[in-house]
Symmetry: C2
Subunit: 391 residues, 2 copies
């Protein structure tokens, strides 16, 4: 073994991209707590309390609420493969990368997919779905509540009513939404929902909180075929997370500790206060970005507080700005994905990132870099505008 | 939110079960290092070095060597679903829980599965496979190198030759083997192999190291159908782990730190020294267990050093002993799984667990508990026997 890998010395970053978000020091410490066995009586109490806290943030009483032992994308796959059997009809709403991904995932599960498209940066109204619902008679309708690629904030409640009136199940992507804006699983009658840990829950990536309604579980437990994924089969996972504790796979103990501590922080703050904090910092950031002459890539009225997608002004070098933010200021923001590649920046205010210090810092740094590239605006105005919101 | 979850305070355990194993303090600290973005230049260097170190422990030059972002069972699923298309013939060798699991996983992937069985605690010889190979003409043969449910150590080299002579690909479960006994992917011509982090690599559970030979990658890249799992599709993962760094999913940053540090510890010790340490401690444990009158559940000559499955003597209460080990001594050992439930204990000596102090501790505790239950043996003899091996 001639080559020896260097010591682990990650730089300190200010994480203001589309996730991972900043991690609270208590969560980092929790990750390094003593590992116990995945069937240790102590770990089982942690699993129980984790489920309880996840039900709170999902605003649900669904018994089948837990964390899939993989990242948010596996959360998407778990909801799709459990509900879909080969040949089933599924509608997927596509207005960004993650709706597009759901089409792919559903197709691989054997779904007969009908896609309904909206332009990137816009959202769906119930009217957009009516014709497709009548024609496709879907078993499942999938929609992204917070499209991380565009910053679009999709209202769910009215669409849910329409979907259920058509006899379908509603599957919702809440990867970026959960913990940052209200996600009311029971009130909105969402049947299957998934999230990730590295967004507004402010835990490193690695787990995917999911919840299935009793109606969805009925569908799963009455399938004609086995779920194509052994690892994600929720009928087996229910026996590990339920009272029986039947061994399935070895739970990711230390990641679970991290999520547990992240959820405790949300409990301490309170959900409503947490949403309000995201919104306040978003308003301050938006005021500052607007003062810098930047425009949102998302339609007005549907802009997510935790994911601010802004158009890159003409004449500004995308990569150069992001590189300088990282190298000179230690700040990570996101570039555009898919149709927005090279056209938009994505500034995250997720979880522990959503604090005034970060808002002022990113505005100050952007102000400097935009000025260096000849962009025209009033120097100092962005900080004043943001501080005006904080009052 | 009336209920507030208690602070995270996991007890200190001595992890001597079938995994998770003891975690080195450096690995626990690595888990809590600064989170950076999954496309941060620093994280990309960590991914590169991680791949390099994984190639070393797998003893391979396979470019497609990486860690799947989920636990070892997802590693199994990833190798199966990438190689198998619906209707493909696959032979699975079954002599324990994990072979059984592979049958299930392969069936869900659409494989036409032929199972070849051996009694639990035994291993396969090339002769066991000849008839099935001729009859099934498989595309893939799956076999478990270290059967965690029985402690059986399966030789791979001769079977590999036979499998390749029959024109099939060889898929190997090395979940418990990797890092504890030699696993020679290139020399033995293994085409797809997976492991877990929580066994002899001594990192908490959460990732699954995998490696695909160029021949296996050819098969993957020339499939007629898409891989059924988007999350595990190695053709897409190759673009994230390769030079292009195409975003796929958000990598589990902090778990990757943990595995990185665990692999550095193995680099520092040296692979051969690491194998020798596992073997020495196994010999000492076996001498002690034998002095206690306990018999291995695995055939002589094929007993894994890191997983010691012993039969529970008549008249001894399985659950009572394991409960007392945990509650009075803080020691976790494993109960039996499947056919061995209630009949065997599984004592792990994996990774950082494989140390003389742990061997003497578990022998001392077992000696006390067996004596309390009226088991007949010479008091003190187990410690003397183990110390005799250490010399």
């Amino acid at each position: 073994m001639a080559y020896i890998a260097p010591p682990l010395e990650p730089p300190a970053r200010v994480l203001m991209g589309p996730g991972p978000s900043e991690i609270h020091p208590r969560v980092l410490r929790a990750l390094g707590a003593n590992t116990v066995g995945h069937l240790d009586p102590y770990y089982l109490t942690i699993m129980n309390d984790l489920q309880r806290m996840l039900r709170e943030v999902f605003q649900t009483t669904n018994p089948m609420t837990m964390a899939v032992s993989a990242t948010g994308s596996a959360g998407m796959e778990s909801t799709v493969v459990n509900l879909i059997e080969p040949g089933d009809s599924m509608i997927v709403c596509v207005n960004g990368v993650f709706g597009e991904r759901m089409v792919d995932v559903a197709g691989r599960a054997g779904a007969n997919v009908t896609r309904v498209d909206r332009p990137w940066g816009e959202v769906f109204s119930p009217d957009d779905l009516k014709a497709a619902l009548a024609a496709a008679k879907p078993k499942v309708v999938g929609i992204v509540m917070a499209e991380t690629s565009t910053g679009a904030w999709q209202p769910i409640e009215e669409i849910s009513k329409l979907v259920h009136d058509a006899g379908a199940l509603l599957l919702v992507d809440a990867v970026t939404a959960l913990g940052g804006v209200p996600v009311k699983v029971d009130e909105w009658q969402i049947d299957a929902i998934y999230s990730g840990t590295q967004k507004c829950l402010s835990c490193p990536p690695g787990l995917a909180p999911v919840s299935f309604s009793p109606r969805a579980m009925d569908v799963v437990l009455n399938r004609k075929t086995k779920v194509q994924s052994w690892y994600l089969d929720v009928s087996m996972l229910a026996k590990y997370w339920g009272a029986d504790r039947v061994y399935h796979h070895t739970g990711p103990i230390n990641m679970t500790y991290g999520l547990y501590e992240a959820l405790r922080l949300i409990q301490e703050e309170g959900l409503d206060a947490c949403y309000a904090r995201h919104m306040l910092n978003h308003r301050a950031l938006k005021a500052g970005l607007t003062a810098l002459g930047l425009k949102y890539a998302t339609v007005e009225g549907h802009q997510l507080p935790m994911l601010n997608a802004v158009l890159i002004p003409d004449g500004i070098d995308d990569v150069k700005v992001r590189k300088a933010l990282l190298e000179r200021f230690g700040i990570e923001i996101g570039g555009g994905l898919g149709a927005f590649k090279g056209k938009a920046w994505r500034i995250g205010l997720m979880g522990h990132t959503a604090r005034p210090n970060n808002v002022l810092l990113v505005l100050g740094a952007l102000e400097q870099l935009l000025a260096e590239q000849g962009h025209k605006f009033d120097r100092g105005s962005s900080i004043a505008a943001a501080n005006g919101v904080y009052g």
